[in-house]
Symmetry: C2
Subunit: 183 residues, 2 copies
Amino acid sequence: MRKPYHHGDLRRRMVAEARLALVRNPDPSALSIRELARRIGVSQNAPYRHFPDRDHLLDALAAGGYEAAAAGLAERSVEGITAVADVWDTMARREPGLAALMLRAVPGGEVELASRAWLAEVVRAIEPEVGDEDPERLVRRAIGCWAAVLGMTTLSRGGLLAGLDGWMVPSSADLARRVVVRG
Amino acid sequence: MRKPYHHGDLRRRMVAEARLALVRNPDPSALSIRELARRIGVSQNAPYRHFPDRDHLLDALAAGGYEAAAAGLAERSVEGITAVADVWDTMARREPGLAALMLRAVPGGEVELASRAWLAEVVRAIEPEVGDEDPERLVRRAIGCWAAVLGMTTLSRGGLLAGLDGWMVPSSADLARRVVVRG
DNA sequence: TTATTGAAGTAGACATTGACAACATCCGGC
DNA sequence: GCCGGATGTTGTCAATGTCTACTTCAATAA
């Protein structure tokens, strides 16, 4: 009775534990299904009842990242481009492994939907800051904002700017603002 | 005599074969040292005489990507921001796996130097297009350009914009131009 | 109430991989 | 001529992803 045969919430638990593991070691390729199962206290094959394979776990994980980001942006008191940059930067700093996973969407996976929700939230956030009512252009601006922020944080957090840290490097918010406003 | 005991050029050959393998399968985590060795016709452990571990091979591979990109930009007849965007876009389209590897630099690795050379080339390319003589601001602009291009191509090639392809998505050159000029 | 069925978990196995240790071969300087 | 270091080879180990077959359990329908 101490340990019921069925876990009951394995899928969610796997994603949560994977996210934790990714905090301990940001390298996604080091994520091991077996180790997660071990840590949760379930057999090494139990996870396969919830994820066809490792890639689907990573997909769910990345989708969770987008949901968290969208929620973080929605619950934000401060609106605008700065908020978008802040949310993404914070995630990339605190969970670089998760941020790395979020750069790739497998077709038909959960990330596609979740990232779309994030994009919608970005649109909502930047809308008051740009005086643009045309939806298509607004979406285009939002994509540009996302790309600029993502690119800048990827460069910094990826270590590609080692040596020039701080000094000489533009902030992702500045970049995004230049991309979004006017034009 | 058919097959000399020593290969003679294994290191370079490994990097080249790895790059090929990455073209066949863009997922860097699928790169196997053993398979490369097998394909080259050398024992499974020979590569370890040239790379302490798998990560060092990936590092050399990514560095090669930056060298190729820098060379491609240098040999370019057309100068300017468009050339930067073109070079990166082309690489990301033709070798997405390599492009993905280039987003992370291990401290002290070869990528740090190679990416610095690439950045210098970007500076040189955008210099005539922006009327700015202050070196620090020029570097900052170059970084912004790089980030914008990289962010946009990562989004498109990563499948994060599936569905909105073409339509609604800004080009990386447009983004970069908006980031670089003025300000 | 009880039989059954399908979802969730377990046990065991297999091929592949990264990496280590010990041994073999070759080339250049003494 | 030999010898030492660089390069390549064989053998081995633990860990991993994933397959197949078996078990447990809860809910449904008789």
